[in-house]
């Protein structure tokens, strides 16, 4: 959701100055219709994006509590408290760890699966469906399935490990493994979507480039991948990395259902902290400050994407 909103905001933000500049050149007569045409989009943007955003930022400077009739401005107090709070740092570190593990794995595996499906000739639709299923399934419901699979006593995973003579873990109840177990679920969930995007990217690579590569002497699969596939997938890859990055930053469902950030905050992540502070402790002001931090990261990723998209990966 957030990424589409930011994308839309970017779009409008790019067009607005252009429209205004054109209007100035062409005189006031044409400025009015131009502004009138921009107005609906601008109004909606204010109403749905900028307004709430300003509200959240304003809220982060107050001590407002959900349901309380009054509040007072406390300046940067929320941020000061946040920076001194160990839970915030733990959840930020956990979130970054989660992103650092899930993004490369989900992107690489998504690409690998897409390449395998594309290179084979049989059961393509079958494989596509199988890998896409996690994307369509409700993550909350799937989390419960994972909870059973990861159960220390009768879970499938430990059962398999015992079968080959290995010691299992209490995956979700162990400080050492909880976050990584969540990472695996995150990868499993993101894989299918990335695969579909990569498949679309692969289909749009002109066949003649592979012919040219073959004639030029790029024989092996690796040489072809390096010469044609990987560079031609550049735009897709940037998009996939950013989308996966933003989605990983937003990880919440699995944490909330499976670990509630535990044990002892070992799987606490930003959005979960935000939820707990805002909706369990009703500290809306502090929750808003966390939201601002979260939005900063998402904004950085979006900026990274537009910077990358403008150079390097688009060739024409």
């Amino acid at each position: 959701m957030a990424e589409t909103l930011t994308a839309n905001a970017n779009l409008v933000a790019e067009r607005l100055p252009a429209a205004v500049a054109t209007a100035r050149v062409q005189g006031a007569n044409r400025a009015r219709p131009a502004l009138a045409m921009v107005a609906p989009a601008f109004m909606l943007m204010c109403l749905l994006l900028l307004g709430p955003l300003a509200g959240v930022i304003a809220l982060s400077f107050t001590d407002y509590q959900l349901g309380s009739p009054t509040f007072s401005w406390i300046g940067l107090e929320n941020y000061r408290e946040m920076l001194a709070d160990r839970v915030f740092w733990t959840s930020l570190r956990n979130t970054l760890t989660y992103v650092a593990i899930v993004v490369p794995s989900a992107v690489a595996l998504g690409l690998g699966v897409a390449l395998l499906i594309e290179s084979g000739s049989s059961f393509r639709a079958w494989y596509r469906t199988i890998y896409f299923l996690p994307v369509m399934a409700t993550l909350i419901a799937m989390s419960i399935v994972w909870e059973f699979m990861l159960h220390p006593q009768f879970g499938l995973v430990n059962g398999l490990l015992h079968g080959v003579g290995l010691e299992g873990f209490s995956w979700l109840q162990d400080r050492r493994t909880a976050l990584y177990a969540l990472c695996v679920i995150g990868i499993w969930q993101a894989l299918g979507f990335n695969m579909v995007l990569f498949l679309a990217g692969l289909v749009s690579i002109p066949r003649q480039l592979y012919d040219a590569a073959e004639i030029d002497g790029a024989h092996g699969a690796w040489a072809r991948f390096r010469l044609v596939t990987w560079p031609m997938l550049g735009p897709t890859t940037v998009f996939v990395v950013v989308i996966t990055g933003i989605r990983s930053f937003q990880v919440f469902d699995t944490v909330h259902v499976l670990t509630k950030g535990g044990p002892s905050k070992s799987s606490e992540v930003l959005i979960h902290t935000m939820y707990v502070e805002g909706f369990e402790f009703f500290r809306s002001g502090y929750g808003a400050a966390l939201t601002v931090v979260f939005l900063t990261f998402v904004l950085l990723l979006t900026l990274l994407k537009s910077a990358m998209a403008n150079r390097g990966v688009h060739y024409t």
Binding site: Q208, A212, G217, A223
Partner: protein, 386 residues
């Protein structure tokens, strides 16, 4: 430089037979054009020669060596594609260098960064640089070497594609409709550039096109392909003047040849619309087609003249096309005239005639029929027409 031989090449995709037994010998250093309507299998044939598509049966020999099962790059043929197929992320220099790097560097030396540490790579790379720069100078690309294909015009991209082909000094060149993405003016220019390149390199050129003007102007021989067969091979003049098949006659030549319905009488005489042509043939009696090139059509009366109405005029400056609808049959005819003379008005009645030696006769199956001009009546006809 090498001779390319095709023996009984067949290609079947799923259950559709695209190539139905192609035999063709392309001589060393020859410029041969494969032409034919779209879907006739000419591009498939080129891909079979290149090795991009394995033939279902038959043999491809390059320089007297069978290359069946040999990888495309090992066949040492270069190919220029319709879309140019340049690597969009590589500069012009790197695009041209790709075939040399693939051949001369080991897989390890091509690894980014790490490969640079390998001994001997630098000197190989220097050699590649020299050759790429030589080819770029030859094609007037020297100032563009740092650009990406996306920053080039169509003609420049075309030259880069040609550069990538010639840099490896292949045995032969395969062109797959290389000019069809260019605008008309540039196409004419590139036509002469390619012909010049052929004279310069003296290599074997196989050139696939559906544009007969390209085929006629550049190649030393034309192979006309129709529905998976090579119907006729010959010099451009031969194919134009003496088509062996009505499909060749109709495909080669623009505007299209006029086809008149004719009849072969029991005595071997030929008639068009009930009028004797003054030609006779040993072929069996029956229906036939009498084909006449538009430039051999003339306005004026005569024994074989066809009356009709002018329906459309095209004045092109150097020539004029008169479209005539024949009166008795609903048949569009075309005459190509010198515009110096007075052209008939649209809607006016005219007579179209043609010399007997301009007629090419094809039987009902479309095969060419030999005809003879009987001495006396022939002369009489010539006089009547002339």
């Amino acid at each position: 430089m090498a001779k390319i031989e095709l023996k009984a090449i067949r290609k079947i995709f799923d259950s559709t037979e695209i190539l139905k037994g192609i035999d063709l010998t392309i001589e060393d250093g020859e410029f041969i054009a494969l032409i034919g309507p779209s879907g006739c299998g000419k591009s498939t044939l080129l891909r079979v020669i290149a090795g991009l598509e394995p033939q279902t049966s038959g043999e491809v020999r390059i320089g007297d060596v069978s290359v069946d099962g040999v990888r495309p790059s090992a066949r040492n043929l270069a190919m220029v594609f319709q879309s140019y197929a340049l690597y969009p992320h590589l500069s012009v220099f790197d695009n041209i260098a790709v075939p040399l790097r693939m051949r001369r560097h080991s897989a390890l030396a091509r690894v980014p960064l790490l490969g640079r540490l390998l001994p001997g790579r630098a000197s190989t790379e220097r050699g590649i640089r020299e050759e790429v720069e030589r080819v770029a100078a030859q094609l007037e690309l020297s100032s563009l070497l740092r650009r990406k294909p996306g920053q080039l015009s169509g003609g420049q991209r075309q030259r880069v594609a040609v550069g990538r082909a010639i840099v490896r000094q292949p045995l032969g060149f395969l062109f797959d409709e290389p000019l069809s993405n260019l605008d008309a003016k540039l196409r004419v220019h590139m036509r002469s550039e390619l012909a010049q390149l052929h004279r310069q390199l003296k290599a074997t050129f196989v050139y696939v096109t559906h544009d007969q003007a390209e085929a006629m102007t550049m190649s030393s021989r034309i192979a006309v392909m129709i529905e998976g067969h090579i119907v006729q091979v010959g010099t451009p003049a031969e194919v134009y003047e003496n088509p062996r098949d009505i499909r060749v006659a109709e495909f080669v030549g623009s505007p299209k040849i006029n086809a008149l319905p004719g009849v072969i009488r029991e005595d071997g005489g030929l008639e068009v619309l009930g009028r004797p042509l003054g030609l006779s043939t040993p072929a069996a009696a029956g229906r036939c087609s009498v084909c006449v090139r538009p430039e051999r059509m003339e306005l004026g009366a005569g024994p074989a003249a066809i009356s009709g109405t002018v329906v459309h005029l095209e004045h092109l400056g150097s020539e004029a096309f008169v479209h005539v609808k024949a009166d008795r049959i609903d048949l569009p005819l075309l005459a190509r005239l010198n515009p110096d003379r007075q052209l008939p008005a649209i809607g006016s009645s005219v007579h179209l005639t043609y010399p007997a030696n301009a007629a090419r006769i094809f039987d009902a199956a479309g095969k060419r029929i030999e005809v003879a001009v009987p001495v006396r009546s022939g002369r009489a006809l010539e006089q009547a027409v002339g």
